[in-house]
Each structure stands twice: as structure tokens, then as C-alpha cells.
């Protein structure tokens, strides 16, 4: 098996001009990933700037309601409000060691863009963020945050005007400026070595969970539940548990409106559950596509999950049966958003709401035993950025009710 592959998934399907950059990145990563100085510096940023480690919080009210023990891994408490900073600090530091001057990134919900802007501001990089025009509107406070921290935000008007198109634009920028620019990919997607690098930087989540749950419960959890768009928070929490076969792993995808596809678009973003093998943005993975291989636009209430592909390693883990992909709908996610806010005083990101919603859904279906008695949910981000989206939905529903 080629080292760029996860089973049959992965690879490097990029324009020729990027191949040397991928090789350079891979070599740099191999050189620095175990370098004591690099690790010491990364550790400093993680602790002092990002605020790690994050708590593993026992959700007592949620647990009481469902009759199982539920812990929340509080990535919403990372500086910036999401797990994204783990990876951007790692990659920005790597870029610094590589002598790059400029960072570019793509962003869906704006969390990765914000985290990139933070890392760039802190470490002294020039930075530019590409964001679908549709997402710029639905996440405009995050746009402002990025601009405050000195990033230039480019609204992408092509295609579906969402994450997929932002990635295309970022790739184009990279093709043009590859000599001085590091493309800071925000999820476990894209060509090798990105899925590996992002996974490694995010796996700090799972490593902490391992120690924390042993301390609190004296054993590993029965299940770990995490939302999956591209899949970085899912891979981050799953990866250290891959060899621990007794721990069941549930990536929860955006079921959107319903698990159906029209000619031009999917009404969901469930590429792991119902996607087909193909090549998108540098990797052989599972994607949403039509019968000719044209990429379908995806759909989700949460901008961060609204993506037509998924990380190749998740596709591989699903293929060998190590993970159990599942979906929840927009409505179920929204319900979980309210429930966690009310029950625990924690407003989750709409992305993370999908993970919470899955536990609620299993309870509703009387299938909680599939999860076991001890469950960890990765609360990948906080919901501040989504308040406007949820508020608008609430108003629309109220209007409908009046008519």
C-alpha cells in the first residue's frame, strides 16, 4: 500500500504544480513532528494560548434524563470556541519552521478561518481566508472576527457558494503562490499528507479523553460520538481509540432535510453514509456525485458540515467496519441545540448538536443499549456563531404558525 493511502482511499490527486509542495510539506512534517523543540513550542501554544487541556465534563442532567453516563469533551472551551485551533496552531508552527510567510485557508462555518486568523495573528503571518459567499452571509460575525485579527476574507461566488467552492479557490491561490504560501487545510480532507497531519494535530482530543476517562471512570467509554463533515473532530477523538476495539465509534453526519438526492443537489451532507467512491479535491474518498461524476451540492443546517466529501481515513474506517456512520436531520440537530442549552447551560455549535442529537435519537428509538452505559460526546464547538441562524429559523417557524 502506498503511504499516501488508507486502504483504497486517499492519494494525491492535485495539479502537477502542487506535487512538489506536497512533498515539501510531507518531508517537513516528518522532520519536525518528533523534534523536541517543535513539540515544546507546540505544547506552549496549546496550553498557554489555546487553553488546553479541555475538560471532560460529566453532563449530569443529560445523563439523568437518559439513564446512561454521558460525558462531553469540551472543545467548545478552546480559545476561539472550537477544536479547529488545535490544527491551525500545529500547521502554522510547521509553516513557520518551513519558512513560509503567508497562510491561506478555506472555511465553512468560519471556525477554521477564525482559528487560522488567530494562529496567523499570533505567529506573525500574512493570511487570507476563502469562504463561500453563502457562508459569508450566514456567518458574518465570524467574518468580522477574522478581519479584526488581520485576515483578508474573500467571498467565493462560484458554484454552490459554500465550503467546496471555497476549497477550490484556496487551491487556485495555492497553485499561484505556492512558493511562499502554506495552505492550511482545516479538516482531514484533501491530498496526502493533509489528512494525516490534521488527524495528528487533532488527536490531542482523543489522547486527553483517554487519560481523563480513566481517571474519572477507571475504564474506556463504550462509545464515542462525534459529528463529521470533513471529519477532523471525529478523527481527532477517534484516532487514539482505533486499536481499542471495544470502544464503539459513531461519526454523525448531517442528514439535512432528508437523505435524498435531486439531479443537482443532495438534501443532506451524508457522504460517509450514502456517498460513492470518487475523487474530490485531492483525495479518493466517498463523495456526493451524480451518475457522471459531477459533484453534487450538499445541504445542512450547519455550515461546518455542509460538504460534499469526507476525509479518506474515515471512508477507510467505515469500509473495514471500525466506525459506525450515522445521520441526524436538521430538525433533530436543532432540537439537541435547545436541549443541551436548557439542560446543561451549554450552547453547542450546530455541528456539535448533531453529535448530541444522535444520543437523543437513540434514546427516542429505544436503542440506547447500542451506545452502552458510558458515552463520550465530542462537543467540537460552541454555538455563539449559530445564534443568528437559529434565531431566524425560530422566527420563520413562528411566522408559519401564524399563517
Amino acid at each position: 500500500m502506498k503511504k499516501s493511502m488508507y486502504g483504497k482511499f486517499g492519494g494525491q490527486f492535485v495539479p502537477e504544480v502542487l506535487m512538489p509542495a506536497l512533498t515539501e510539506l510531507e518531508e517537513a512534517y516528518e522532520r519536525y513532528k518528533d523534534d523536541p523543540e517543535f513539540l515544546k513550542e507546540l505544547d506552549f501554544y496549546m496550553k498557554e494560548f489555546a487553553g488546553r487541556e479541555t475538560p471532560l465534563y460529566f453532563a449530569k442532567n443529560l445523563s439523568k434524563k437518559y439513564g446512561i453516563k454521558i460525558y462531553l469533551k469540551r472543545e467548545d472551551l478552546v480559545h476561539g470556541g472550537a477544536h479547529k485551533l488545535n490544527n491551525t496552531l500545529g500547521q502554522a508552527l510547521l509553516a513557520k519552521y518551513m519558512g513560509k510567510k503567508r497562510l491561506i485557508a478555506e472555511t465553512g462555518a468560519g471556525q477554521h478561518g477564525t482559528a487560522t486568523a488567530m494562529a496567523a495573528a499570533n505567529m506573525g503571518f500574512e493570511s487570507e481566508v476563502y469562504m463561500g459567499a453563502k457562508d459569508v452571509i450566514r456567518q458574518h460575525m465570524n467574518v468580522y472576527r477574522m478581519e479584526l485579527m488581520g485576515s483578508k476574507v474573500n467571498a467565493v461566488e462560484s458554484g454552490s457558494k459554500t465550503l467546496k467552492d471555497a476549497i477550490n479557490e484556496a487551491l487556485r491561490d495555492w497553485v499561484t503562490n505556492v512558493e511562499n504560501t502554506h495552505y492550511l487545510i482545516g479538516s482531514v480532507v484533501g491530498p496526502h499528507p493533509y489528512p494525516m497531519i490534521v488527524r495528528d494535530f487533532q488527536s490531542v482530543i482523543g489522547k486527553e479523553v483517554k487519560e481523563q476517562i480513566m481517571e474519572k471512570e477507571g475504564r474506556y467509554p463504550d462509545s464515542i460520538v462525534a459529528c463529521a463533515g470533513g471529519g477532523s473532530n471525529a478523527m481527532g477523538i477517534f484516532y487514539p481509540f482505533i486499536e481499542d476495539k471495544e470502544v464503539k465509534l459513531f461519526p454523525v453526519e448531517a442528514g439535512g432535510k432528508e437523505l435524498k438526492t435531486t439531479e443537482k443537489e443532495a438534501l443532506h451532507s451524508a457522504s460517509l453514509c450514502v456517498g460513492e467512491e470518487g475523487i474530490l479535491q485531492g483525495a479518493h474518498t466517498l463523495i456526493l456525485q451524480d451518475k457522471y461524476g459531477q459533484i453534487l451540492e450538499s445541504s445542512s443546517i450547519s455550515a461546518g458540515l455542509d460538504y460534499s466529501g469526507v476525509g479518506p481515513e474515515l471512508a477507510y474506517l467505515a469500509d473495514i467496519g471500525r466506525i459506525n456512520p450515522c445521520t441526524v436531520s436538521d430538525d433533530e440537530a436543532l432540537e439537541a441545540f435547545y436541549e443541551l442549552s436548557r439542560l446543561e447551560g451549554i450552547i453547542p455549535a450546530l455541528e456539535s448538536s448533531h453529535a448530541v442529537a444522535y444520543v437523543m435519537k437513540m434514546a427516542k428509538n429505544g436503542e440506547l443499549e447500542k451506545l452502552g452505559d458510558l458515552v463520550v460526546i465530542n462537543l467540537s464547538g460552541r454555538g455563539d456563531k449559530d445564534l443568528e441562524t437559529v434565531f431566524k429559523l425560530k422566527e420563520e417557524k413562528a411566522k408559519e404558525a401564524c399563517q
Binding site: Q12, F13, P15, M19, T176, I279, G293, Q294, I295
Partner: protein
């Protein structure tokens, strides 16, 4: 017609090749056939027929917009091959597309469909040589050339590997970036041509839009110039398309003689 035969024919006439790119189906399959006719009439020696993809990462805004228009007008691989088969110009046709469309159809079937439709070469901008083994075999089986790209940052072993694998011609990207019209092409072209050692004809693309630039590229030692966005821009304008496409082709071809 095979690409090698065309280059042999041009060599006898002591000419260089003009390779023209158009996006199939922009604005319609019927129109593309007429545009190809105009291109050939103007002097194009090889025609690249773009098969539009929804996410063309190696293309700039001009060709991306053309791809979007073509897809909205209903272009798909089935119609594409049908249309290509009905083109009876005496020039090699080359398919340029992204790998997912090929993967989805199946490497072998795609190469076979090309051969049957009279398409004798394939260019896949998101398929580096490292990932191209299956398509390479399929192309060999069906007598279709698989054309690889060389860029200013392709060096050492990768350069050798790409040159060894490419057939028909080698596509030289003269500068970093995506497709699109540029002001200056001469210097970077000279630099990269000087580094390339191959028997395969050397075609330079990306950024060439007028006769003067084409002449500079030819002078720098290229065997062919590839022009895309300049033609696509004319098509996008919708004004006297065939006439203007023919005129630009003849202006460019003068530089190749």
C-alpha cells in the same frame, strides 16, 4: 488522427503546432461543432475539447465559467462522446477533463469511448503521474495518448518520470497559477524549455492569448502553443463567435509558421 502523425506532418512543412482549447457544450453541443470548424479553418492543428467538470481546480475564472455554462446547458460525457464522434475535421482531438469523470465512467471504458469517438489524447490536470497507472494502461490498450504536464517547479525524478510517461506531446505550464490570459510569457518559458530534454513535442500553455506571445514561445523553442482562455473569452461574449475565433486562430497560426 493521431497526434504523432500531425506533428510529423507539421515537421515536413517546417511548422509549429497551434493547439486550441474550447469547452465542449459552451454554449451548446451544436455550437461547439461550429466553433471547432472555425478553429480548424483558422489554422488550429490540434483541438482540445474540454469535458466540463463541476469543480475544475486547475482552471481560472474564464474556463470555470465556461464549464458552468456548459453543464447548465446539459453537457455530459455521453453527449460529449457523441458530439466528438460527429466532428469530421482533419485534426487530432484531445480530451481535457478532471479525473473524477474518468474514474466514474471507468478508466478502460473512458479510454475506449475516446478512441471510438476519434479522440486520440487525454489531458487530466488533477492526475499526477503517481496516480495515473490505471488510466495509463487503459490508454495504452486503446491507442490513446495520455499527456502529462510539466511546470516550473517540476524537477529531478518527477521531471524524468513525467517525460517518460507522456506521449503525443508534453504539456508545459510556463508559469505558476491557473489557466488564464497573461501579459508576459517569454522569460519563464525560456527557463523551463531549457531544462527539458525529450523527444516528445513540447507544447507550451497557460497565459498565451495573442500572436506576439505565441511567436515568443515558439522562438524560445516550443513545438506548439496551447491557447484556451482567449478563445473561451470570445465564445463567452457571444458576438460573431465563429468569425472571431477563426480570425484569432489564423493570427496565432502565423506565429507558428
Amino acid at each position: 488522427m493521431r497526434i504523432a502523425d500531425k506533428f510529423a506532418e507539421l515537421k515536413e512543412k517546417n511548422e509549429k503546432a497551434l493547439i486550441a482549447y474550447v469547452c465542449a457544450g459552451d454554449p451548446s453541443a451544436e455550437a461547439t461543432k461550429e466553433i471547432v470548424h472555425a478553429l480548424v479553418k483558422g489554422g488550429a492543428d490540434i483541438v482540445e475539447l474540454g469535458l466540463p467538470f463541476s469543480d475544475p481546480v486547475a482552471d481560472g475564472p474564464t474556463i470555470q465559467a465556461a464549464s458552468t455554462r456548459a453543464l447548465e446547458a446539459g453537457m455530459n460525457p455521453d453527449i460529449y462522446f457523441e458530439m466528438a464522434a460527429s466532428i469530421k475535421e482533419n485534426v487530432p482531438l484531445v480530451c481535457m477533463t478532471y479525473y473524477n469523470l474518468i474514474y466514474k465512467r471507468g478508466n478502460e471504458k473512458f479510454a475506449k469511448d475516446c478512441a471510438e469517438a476519434g479522440i486520440t489524447g487525454i489531458i487530466v490536470p488533477d492526475l499526477p503521474a503517481e496516480e495515473a497507472d490505471e488510466l495509463h494502461v487503459a490508454c495504452k490498450n486503446n491507442g490513446v495518448d495520455l499527456i502529462f504536464l510539466i511546470t516550473p517547479v517540476t524537477t529531478g525524478k518527477r521531471m524524468e518520470k513525467n517525460l517518460e510517461k507522456t506521449s503525443g506531446f508534453v504539456y508545459i505550464v510556463s508559469r505558476l497559477g491557473v489557466t488564464g490570459e497573461r501579459v508576459d510569457v517569454a522569460e519563464s518559458t525560456k527557463n523551463i524549455l531549457a531544462r527539458i530534454d525529450t523527444e516528445v513535442p513540447k507544447a507550451v500553455g497557460f497565459g498565451i492569448s495573442n500572436g506576439q506571445q505565441a511567436a515568443e514561445v515558439i522562438k524560445a523553442g516550443a513545438d506548439a502553443v496551447i491557447v484556451g482562455s482567449a478563445f473561451v473569452s470570445i465564445i463567452a461574449s457571444g458576438e460573431n463567435v465563429n468569425e472571431r475565433v477563426e480570425k484569432l486562430a489564423s493570427e496565432l497560426k502565423i506565429s507558428c509558421r
